[in-house]
Symmetry: C2
Subunit: 205 residues, 2 copies
Amino acid sequence: MKSQKTTATAEKLIDIAESFFAEKGFYGTSIRDLADGIAIAKSSLLHHYPSKEKLYGAVLKKLAGEMTLEVKYIRKQFTDEKEQIFQFVQLLCNNSEKKPNRENIILRELIDNPKRAEKAKKWFFVDYFKELTGIIKSGQTKGLFKPINPEIFILQLLGAHRYLIISLPTVKQFFDEKIYQQILKDHRTELETFVNERLINEEGV
Amino acid sequence: MKSQKTTATAEKLIDIAESFFAEKGFYGTSIRDLADGIAIAKSSLLHHYPSKEKLYGAVLKKLAGEMTLEVKYIRKQFTDEKEQIFQFVQLLCNNSEKKPNRENIILRELIDNPKRAEKAKKWFFVDYFKELTGIIKSGQTKGLFKPINPEIFILQLLGAHRYLIISLPTVKQFFDEKIYQQILKDHRTELETFVNERLINEEGV
DNA sequence: CACTCTACCGACCGATCGGTAGACAGTCAA
DNA sequence: TTGACTGTCTACCGATCGGTCGGTAGAGTG
């Protein structure tokens, strides 16, 4: 079982790289700091990932894979598209509290990707995005959602959430620390309202 | 008029720094490149702004000042808070087409600010944010807006817009290039709907 | 004329960057 | 036992980083 230790080191690298890239960005993170962070030599890091870019790519790939899986799981678990999109809102909010790194990395990647894309790098979040717009498109054929543009709706929903999340540390000075949890709860409710207003409700009205 | 040439150089520095910081971020931008970009020596750059941090701060300050002024102008120009917030949506959308750098810098700053804030740096967008929430709070006392949390509303509105804008270059591969303008137009309409749903409409229902 | 101030410059600094080379210890198969 | 492979290390590389230094040209001022 020689590969066990190796795998463990590689995974530790991914983990610490995820948090460092999230906090300081690609250019702000040095592979020296990453290696020091898990107490190995820098050249040992480069043994597992032959370049900083490759390591960064591995982090993105793992992150995108996890997120896509989570959405696919929701789509398999619930047949009703309305239920799916509300479950996704819950997933978004819950993950932001459990895994705050994610939003930072995704935002940074969105900003930086256009430059990198010129170097023929693929966008890791394609499947994630297509799963989400797929919910809306599927729901629209069943007459569950209003005839909005699915891509715009998803981007606005993700944006309304992620922007607020990354703003919180900065904006927190305006809030009483005690009502911080209340903010997160109200935000969740507002997101649900946003979704709800784009549903077609056959029974009411 | 000795200061004319100096001012011109300093302004050129601010301009190129704004576009470089927006595109590559703080760590991804070197003061060498900035100096080369306007054909002066690096030491000359450091004559005008004694450090990279100071230059970055000057860019943020100018940007925040402009944006705050724009909002204040809207508030002075229109007395009705409903009109103010709709005008602000127009401002957001128009500026994203005219000055695409802005959204990048603001997003980057929001992500990075918490680290910098530890070094006792102030947040340049305080006034901007307070002007915007001020519109909502003022409108709520007049019974024009639903009793939502003003900070959450503003953050979600800004997020829905800015996230979509910075995503467009990446997501564009999914869109036919010809309908790009239609996307921007639909996005604007959706933002207006988002705002509209949070108004209290005494007449209708 | 002498003095000061501003804008600017090239040369240089120590530190840090991403990445390479080579040695060494442990493991496993032949 | 030997040889190939793996993971790790120290030592080192050229490039680039932000920033300092001493100095110069020119305009303003007395």
